[in-house]
Chain length 198, copies 2
């Protein structure tokens, strides 16, 4: 029966993390208040402390949740048996889907650097590293199979992830471009950048 309790608790935590993420993407770390996170759930800020040790803890777990979501996506893409071209295309599209879908806000948590403790920061940066390494591996695969130009992998990856991460700065749910259209264009152009011309 304790499992039922635990589940309920976990669910509530999820709700709070989601609310926190929504505020976080809008206001940034310092601009996010316990009050606002709570208000969105019709709770009082005091209740938050029943579920999380403090604001740092809450936002850190929020960050982890988002990164894990991203990692799940890229792992699936990488482990598929597509060609490197298809993998990169899918990775780009998956990333954009996450960056634009309302539930996630991905790296919107720009610059985690100055808010987290050393240990928390290390954890977050490690996840980011793993994520970006998947892109490196895909690019390397393409180079080995001679379908990509012999690019500087790190540079190419930085350009690609930079372009992708910037989307959240301007993307508007109700804007002229759908996430689908953006995905197509980005995948096309960014692939052209590294695909070997015959």
């Amino acid at each position: 029966m304790s499992s039922f309790r635990a589940q309920k608790m976990a669910k509530k935590k999820q709700e709070i993390l989601r609310s926190a993420a929504a505020v976080l993407i809008e206001k940034g770390y310092q601009g996010t208040t316990m009050e606002e996170i709570a208000a969105k759930l019709l709770m009082t800020k005091g209740s938050m402390y029943y579920y999380f040790k403090n604001k740092d803890d809450l936002l850190h777990q929020c960050h982890l949740m988002i990164m894990e979501l991203c990692l799940e996506g890229i792992e699936t893409v990488f482990n598929s048996d597509c060609t490197p071209i298809e993998k990169l295309r899918n990775a780009i599209k998956e990333h954009i889907l996450l960056a634009t879908s309302e539930k996630s806000m991905f790296m919107a948590l720009a610059k985690p650097n100055h808010n987290f403790s050393d240990e928390q920061l290390k954890e977050v940066l490690e996840l980011r590293k793993i994520y970006s390494q998947y892109f490196d591996r895909i690019i390397n695969e393409g180079i080995e199979k001679q379908v990509f130009e012999n690019v500087d992998v790190k540079m190419a990856r930085l350009i690609i992830l930079g372009a992708l991460n910037w989307i959240q700065e301007w993307y508007d749910q109700d804007g002229p471009q759908s996430a689908e259209e953006i995905s197509d264009a980005y995948a096309r152009y960014l692939l052209k950048m590294i695909i070997k011309e015959k």
Copy 2:
């Protein structure tokens, strides 16, 4: 003689703005304190109010200063009589130079949205628009002269500026890549993305 006074005041304002910009890039809007801005100049936060109405005013002017620096650069590039390819290459390099040189931090002021008044925000967004339009014009020039592929100009520009703006997230003065190397690689790869293959 009032001009001397005015100049001295202006100089001090510049110093404060520079200090504010340095903090801003590290901590973000909400994380930037009057105290820290002042401390860097061996002043007290109270003094700041002799030069600026309040924190909003200070950071808004800081934002404008940076944008004007950027506009200066892109205007020069655009008005040169280079080919579109050279112009785009130079625009990219100039942008990276600004983004990496210690004095500027460019768009580091991510998401100005939730901090400025409507009027201030309008002003900032207007400057950003002008800046990005220069990129559009350069890309359009290239398409017209048939040296660039017939790309979706807006998408191409978003990809390019996205990749460029992300640099500030990872660039490290003492890192393995020099700003020069980054510039070269970025210009090369991003140009490959839109240059017409013969």
